[in-house]
């Protein structure tokens, strides 16, 4: 034997071994490195396919029992398919959203998809891991919302019965930031969304829009709370007196009061109670100034993106121009929430809650907890402070002034026997049709449990539109323990 074969054999084996390890590396590249990119590739239909072939988790209301969304099994020749069913339908659909393999998803359905979907995300319990490893059934996790189901339902009914049937209600626990109700009307039935979507998407009254967070309106006089806060910070006290002549002339713009009334000499508290535009415009121009007013609005969350909030929030704005380019006319209009000021009811509710909670803005929350199918708590966000918008002293002064709005303003409809209620009206010129009707309120004023913002589109005078509606909800929540 001339040449030893064995050396050649060994070399060949190393070649094969290198080939095998190359393949493992290739697999690792696909299965680990570029896994995400491939899963989300538009040519890859697995996500959709899987989403209908395994049950999603439940969406539950704040009581932990009321089912807002569930997956129901249906046998098909291709194997079981799960349909998404929403037992309570329209009153909750602006928050819960819909889940469609054709039209995508909205609301909590998409915001908490990683929790609800049985396949997205990493396994979170041992059972889950075993189920996945053996290919067993994999129901998604359950999401418990903060919504009070009865208050939500009632709020939706009230909006339906309002003057125009268009508007929104946002109620929040000022101390914890939990959203107790977020109703939007008109709404839609999320069941059978695949069939109804084209019609809903083109409907003129836009039922798919969540009016509480996505619609921006001029806030009108409810914005005076921000002007008042800025005024108090600038040294104005509630007992300071101002003279109202019924009109305030500025270059190119004359401020008038609602229904052209004239009040004469009034205290600052009374000016808020009667919502006197002239006084607020004067204070803004003479005492506060554009910069401080804008800063106060920013402190109260104007322009915040609320990226952490599960639902999309349209950004509010004070004015398209920076404050140093404002005319006095702009400043005067802004002081009572007209001009270019844009705000939605969700953010206005947060302002109210901040005043009620000693000036602290709490992070708004819609999800109370996430539970595994067998009840293990996987995630339970706790209350956190967003920022201190105003000092506690200023907040308690505003609290007192808002109680006087009801007492001195004679808004008896807002009163609840034995409970101190605070509030502020807003009747905002809308540009077309009736004025928008706003009412912000919280109670009990000495130990607030609930802060609320009600907004009725083209609902007319606040004390006849939004206020009575909110008062009924407040009473239901506080007296009947809804």
């Amino acid at each position: 034997m001339g040449v030893p074969l064995n050396a050649h054999l060994r070399r060949s084996f190393y070649l094969f071994a290198a080939g095998f390890f190359g393949l493992v590396a290739m697999l690792a590249y696909w299965q680990v490195y570029s896994r995400e990119a491939l899963a989300n590739n538009p040519e890859n239909g697995f996500q959709t396919q899987r989403s209908i072939s395994s049950p999603r988790g439940l969406i539950l209301a704040g009581d932990g029992e009321t089912v807002l969304a569930k997956s129901v099994k249906r046998e098909t020749p291709q194997g079981p398919v799960y349909d998404r069913v929403y037992p309570l339908g329209a009153p909750f659909s602006n928050v819960v959203g819909y889940w469609s393999t054709r039209y995508g998803a909205t609301g909590i359905e998409i915001a908490n998809n990683t929790d609800l979907s049985s396949i997205a995300g990493e396994p979170q319990t041992l059972d889950d891991l075993i189920n996945r490893a053996t290919g067993g059934p994999q129901p998604g996790n359950n999401v418990v919302l903060t919504l009070d189901p009865e208050l939500q339902e009632l709020a939706y009914q009230e909006l339906q019965g309002s003057l125009t049937g268009r508007g929104s209600v946002v109620a929040i626990n000022p101390k914890t930031g939990e959203i107790l109700a977020m109703a939007s009307s008109p709404s839609f039935d999320p069941n059978n969304i695949d069939d109804n979507y084209p019609e809903l998407a083109s409907a003129p009254d836009a039922p798919l829009i969540n009016r509480a967070t996505q619609s921006l309106y001029p806030p009108g006089s409810v914005f005076k709370m921000i002007t008042a806060a800025a005024a108090l910070e600038a040294g104005v006290s509630p007992e300071d007196t101002f003279f109202d002549s019924g009109a305030y002339e500025l270059p190119g713009y004359t401020v008038r009061n609602f229904e052209d009334k004239e009040y004469g000499e009034v205290t600052f508290t009374r000016a808020l109670a009667y919502s006197i535009n002239v006084v607020f415009a004067k204070i803004a121009v003479d005492i506060v100034g554009a910069k401080a007013l804008t800063q106060m609005a920013l402190d109260f969350g104007f322009g915040d993106p609320y990226d952490d909030f599960p639902l999309p929030v349209s950004g509010s704005s004070v004015n398209s121009l920076p404050p140093d380019q404002w005319t006095t006319g702009t400043l005067a209009q802004t002081a009572f929430g007209q001009g270019e000021v844009q705000r939605n009811s969700f953010e206005m509710a947060l302002v109210t809650a901040a005043i009620a909670n000693d000036g602290r803005m709490v992070e708004p929350r819609l999800v109370r907890e996430v539970r595994s199918p067998d009840g293990i708590i996987l995630d339970k966000p706790t209350a956190s402070i967003r920022r201190q918008a105003i000092p506690p002293g200023t907040a308690s002064t505003l609290n007192e002034m808002m109680q006087q709005v009801i007492i001195q303003g004679g808004l008896t409809e807002a009163e609840i026997p034995g409970v101190k209620v605070a509030g502020k009206t807003g009747t905002a010129e809308s540009g077309n049709g009736n004025a928008h009707s706003w009412w912000i309120t919280f109670a009990p004023a000495d130990d607030p449990e609930i802060a609320m913002c009600v907004m009725v589109e083209n609902g007319g005078r606040a004390d006849r539109g939004a206020l009575p509606l909110a008062a009924r909800l407040m009473r239901a929540y506080l007296e009947e323990g809804v």
Binding site: M1, G2, V3, L5, N6, A7, H8, L9, R10, S12, F13, F16, A17, G19, F20, G22, L23, V24, M26, L27, A28, W30, Q31, V32, S34, R35, L38, A39, N41, E43, N44, F46, Q49, R50, G79, N131, R132, A133, T134, G135, G136, Q138
Partner: protein, 429 residues
């Protein structure tokens, strides 16, 4: 031996666990386990000195293959019984191997008929051009034998390895000696090289015209590697490499189907619903598996055309994940390792070359198809040994394993006798 038994147990345990998870009829598992266990015991009795690891690995691979074929076809209309058919093929393969082990213990005699085998192999391949041959998926590599279709190239390749082993063992010394130069590379006299090149070219040419790219690649590479092992001359590999470049370029220009394959390898996104569909679905499925896999039965591997044959590895990677797929690859590597080890221990050149050739074919086949479905190399349609669905392939690979066992038996016995002989002076007074 302890290790071997452990691996056997582990193989069966994995098998039974996985089968129960997919819940096929248990009779299946019992039948299958019984057959292979009987084969294992039979081989241990007949060839007590043969390699102990090969059969457990084969058991593991065929078992996983059976599970995957069952999982991929049990709910497909018209293919519900495919796994049963596969089980029957495993039975036939085991039987063939048992007969081989029983009657061909003197496998040397095969080398005496090497020219006959070579001619038979070429005729086998050419048989697909007879009226009995037919075309599946554009490749003409099937022969209709009444009740069953049969792929002659699966058997022809084993016969060719036997021929090359016998011939090269006889002539390796002359072929290693250089006698003339050609383009700066020293080559032996043509007359020695002739028969090898002739058989090689004939079989290769036929396969190219059958459009069987995967087998062509195997037929090209295996004899080349055997030539290298026999002579130890890198020059052959280099020459082969140059030939390969020319050859593949020529086929690329000559055949549309080769162009399509290369196109869909380079850029499958160009036509994701057409020519790129299969490879993209394969990649999506593999990626879908991630580290741990989707779990058996929870993947979408059925979206891949031909998943139970050529693409069975994608299904494994998808449902058993990176870890499972790597384990399978390691099992293949272990088989290769044992095969090379058998070659190392074999006593004569012909046996060494035979076992090496068979092992190289096994390893390369795995590398080519797994490389193909993972888009590491252009896709060429061949089966994953023992795992893919396919009767001819399973039987062919059982014959391959049987030959390896026979070679290892002889080496093992010699070693045992040597030890016994050495022991005598101490053992007896």
């Amino acid at each position: 031996m302890v290790l071997a038994l452990l691996v056997t147990t582990l193989g069966f345990a994995t098998l039974i666990f996985v089968q129960e998870a997919a819940s096929p009829p248990l009779v299946y598992g019992a039948y299958y386990a019984g057959t292979l266990f009987a084969l294992y015991v039979g081989v241990r009795l007949l060839l007590p000195h043969s390699d102990v690891l090969l059969l457990p690995i084969v058991t593991l691979l065929t078992g996983i293959g059976l599970v995957m074929v069952f999982r991929l076809t049990y709910n497909v209309e018209g293919a519900e019984t495919l796994a049963l058919t596969q089980a029957v093929w495993i039975l036939i393969g085991s039987g063939t191997m048992f007969l081989l082990v029983l009657f061909f213990r003197n496998y040397d005699r095969l080398f005496d008929y090497k020219y006959l085998l070579a001619i038979a192999a070429v005729f086998l391949i050419a048989s697909t051009f007879t009226p009995l041959g037919y075309t599946v998926n554009g490749a003409r590599l099937w022969v209709d034998l009444g009740p069953v279709g049969f792929q002659p190239s699966e058997f022809a390749r084993i016969a060719l390895v036997v021929f090359f082993a016998g011939y090269l063992a006889e002539k390796r010394d002359v072929m290693a000696a250089t006698s003339r130069g050609f383009l700066g590379i020293e080559l032996p006299a043509i007359k020695y090289f002739g028969p090898v090149a002739l058989v090689w070219a004939a079989s290769l040419g036929l396969l190219v015209f059958e459009k069987d790219l995967g087998s062509s690649l195997l037929f090209f590479a295996v004899p080349l590697l055997m030539l290298y092992v026999a002579t130890g001359r890198i020059a052959y590999i280099l020459l082969g490499g140059v030939l390969f470049c020319f050859g593949s370029f020529a086929t690329f220009l000559l055949f549309d189907h080769v162009q399509v394959r290369v196109q869909s390898w380079l850029d499958p996104w160009q036509d994701p619903d057409g020519t790129g569909f299969q490879i993209l679905q394969s990649i999506f499925n593999i990626a879908d598996g991630g580290l741990l896999g989707t779990g058996l039965g929870a993947g979408f591997a059925q979206t891949i055309p031909e998943v139970e044959t050529d693409f069975v590895f994608s299904a494994i990677a998808s449902e058993l994940g990176l870890l499972g797929a790597t384990a399978i690859l390691l099992a293949f590597l272990a088989f290769t390792y044992r095969g090379i080890k058998i070659a190392l221990l074999a006593e004569d050149d012909a046996s060494k070359l035979l076992s090496f050739g068979l092992t190289a074919m096994f390893a390369l086949q795995t590398l080519i198809i797994v490389g193909g479905v993972t888009k590491a190399i252009p896709l060429t349609g061949i089966t994953l040994p023992f795992v893919s669905y396919g009767g001819s392939s399973v039987v062919g690979n059982f014959i391959l394993t049987g030959l390896l066992l026979l070679v290892s038996e002889r080496a093992g016995r010699r070693e045992a006798e040597g030890l016994a002989y050495k022991k005598v002076p101490w053992g007896s007074p």
